[in-house]
Symmetry: C2
Amino acid sequence: MTAPSIGNLADLARIAGVSTSTVSRALADSPLISEKTRTRIAELAREHGFQLNQVARNLRLGRTQAIAVVLPLGDESAQHVSDPFIMTLLGFLADALTERGYDLLLTRIVPADDKWLDRLTISGRVDGVIVIGQSDQRAVLDRTAARYLPLVVWGEAGIGQKHCAIGTDNREGGRLATAHLLGLGRRRIAFLGNPAAPEIGARHAGYLAALAGAGVTAEPSLLLPLQLGSEAAFGLTRDFLAAHPDIDGIVAASDVAAMGAIRALSEAGRAVPEAVAVIGYDDVPFAAHTTPPLTTIRQDLGKGAELLVAALFERMAGTATPSVAFAPELVLRASA
Amino acid sequence: MTAPSIGNLADLARIAGVSTSTVSRALADSPLISEKTRTRIAELAREHGFQLNQVARNLRLGRTQAIAVVLPLGDESAQHVSDPFIMTLLGFLADALTERGYDLLLTRIVPADDKWLDRLTISGRVDGVIVIGQSDQRAVLDRTAARYLPLVVWGEAGIGQKHCAIGTDNREGGRLATAHLLGLGRRRIAFLGNPAAPEIGARHAGYLAALAGAGVTAEPSLLLPLQLGSEAAFGLTRDFLAAHPDIDGIVAASDVAAMGAIRALSEAGRAVPEAVAVIGYDDVPFAAHTTPPLTTIRQDLGKGAELLVAALFERMAGTATPSVAFAPELVLRASA
DNA sequence: GCGTTTTCTGCAATCGATTGCAAAATTGAT
DNA sequence: ATCAATTTTGCAATCGATTGCAGAAAACGC
């Protein structure tokens, strides 16, 4: 049986026959402590399985060593998001933060009022905040950003926006996707997604730009306004196909939406990609495993998480970092 | 412009012209404080946007009001899991904990030694721990559970196991899945998954039991030992089909695996479900959107999260709760 | 108006660490 | 052996809250 575990630093000090100051310094490798006592105390600590109380430590040091990651469940999101895209980003964030010795406090918020972010920032529970997705909360984000520096947001950097947003260049992504279909000779290309959401709006703008660039007139009727996070892509596409049997391409705003569309096409007897080419967005983990595997626009979330965390730490150190939009890339598989 | 925000309770006390005790009590709705001063102080607090420092509060109260949710990345898991199943459970856990006023500390751990769990439990950062998946860490879990009560694990309740595991009845799930295929008249049914992992082993046992019950002899060669979390289902199934063209059903250990198998079948020109019926496991969010939509065994993760959290809170209160395995259910869609 | 209850408020200790400053112990020089 | 210089240790304040106990104020009875 190993020695009983010790509650706090004072207990350990008593056992070692020294003051708490000495123990604290020894454990912190302070040069004020002789090598002899340092090793003796370190040995005792290990022996008794002692660890500092992080809460007390952080209180004294005026920090928390924790970062809040917020998933706001606003207009666009259903009650229970489990969007694989968001979850993948979350995983990368967890890694990036852990690597830097920070804890990740996961918070899902249904924004009832416009104070949810303030509550979080002044509660003293975290040293910084990462918000995943702007949802319909841009105003709240802007207001808080004016007063609270260590805040970064995954999303689209809009004009006149006050908060630091990091994400991929959605306009470019939409353009890439559409240009790819155009390059395949497709001309009647539908857009599946709701442009009201900031990111999707930008992708739609890219879609329009690509069409214009190829001399194809965009038809408003080829827009399928799918709620983000909704699972209605299948039904929406099925009904749409009845009215527009002549389309030959679909630019989907997410891989999940693309999957729904593919199923609708498949059930309507339209081959993918022969009859209708479908391109997704995100390149989520399962995109390579659908039938057929999805051609899609990849957002490198490993890189995204790195950028988010890097910007956040700069901000925690006092520098107001600018927004970033990095380039997405086309991933060729079989659906287009 | 609103009044400048106040740093701490003492500042607010100064402004109100009372002691910190009074402010603290007023904010806590203590009956020791007169209605008059209580409302006056509450008003001041709102006006100045004051909030208690939670770290200090929790230190004083000897708690953290936070729960660690651990994703151990052991043998079976790739470096970056983003298994939709786990992520869905995580979402529900976040809701269940938030509802009870607790924070969720997300921790991904690659178990390098056998002390990772001890480090977490004695760091004082959390009031309890939920581990998602036993991975290859059963020994560590058992050892810690002997000493640290507020610990619950999502997973299979094995015999002789010391820790509290909560999950679905995997044996029953495997049986259900297999029985369904048998009911469809299928006889040459393959199992796609690695029985070495506890949960999968149980599902495989159920598979064998169902075969035996129907008088079908199980063939060891019909086992496709897919690493859990791996993305190799496609390749594995494709190669397997070459050697075993005669199968007419596949019981997959996860929906993700089922997707890979369906693609392999599709590319081999075998229709699903006509030629080969495929049944998945989990019923993850996208299972309804594959082509064809997956027939699968549903694990109700909302219920699972509720059970995990309920057990954890009982344990935090001092009661050693037993392991629980609740029933999974068959979800009929189109793949089998 | 005065003593007694009852109601309110404040002092000071506490949670478990860190750290500036002063005191003690050690070392070295003479 | 004595004293100065240096190294090592400890006292006590601090981070921002909560709370037992005692004292002040208010309410009450006579």
